[in-house]
Subunit: 111 residues, 2 copies
Amino acid sequence: MNPQHPDVDQISLSNVLAALGDPTRLAIVAELARKGDGPVSCSHFLMFTSKTNLSYHLAKLREAGVTRTEVSGTSRFTTLRRADLDQRFPDLLASVITGASTADESEAQTT
Amino acid sequence: MNPQHPDVDQISLSNVLAALGDPTRLAIVAELARKGDGPVSCSHFLMFTSKTNLSYHLAKLREAGVTRTEVSGTSRFTTLRRADLDQRFPDLLASVITGASTADESEAQTT
């Protein structure tokens, strides 16, 4: 069974910003964008954090409507909900991804 | 004595997003923008929350580099650091303010 996701019109700006307001989650979103928005195997993001923390961070992104997580067999894949976010909050995701790529957000590795 | 503020190059994207990721703080930032970025007397924002909560929310915005708070006699005034944020993260603040104005973020009154 796939995890729950908010509908597009239920995505809240404050929830999206709170979900993005963490160095590890910013790194995950920037990596998804770098890989063409996904789907990317969730285990790929173990490069940023421990297994326990990763589940937490991916759930925060999913529950806020930033990402979609789908189960396929024993694997889980994450996709960036770019079209949904662009529809709700034009230019927001693009500016965040640009900021995450150019700014010094290297603290991600330590959380 | 005026409170401490981060320099422009110390402003972190994840801190800014975390500071903005709250309905009350989004409402404060949207109101600052509506009033021409300030300075606005901090007491004006008591329309959004209680006195105790307001101090907390204004400190979060100030410490993240989103706003500047200055003391003048017995009053405190808050200004949006738009130029600093635009320099660090182009288009981010504009997209957040647009999103906060158009989306249903009316939950601000309840926090």
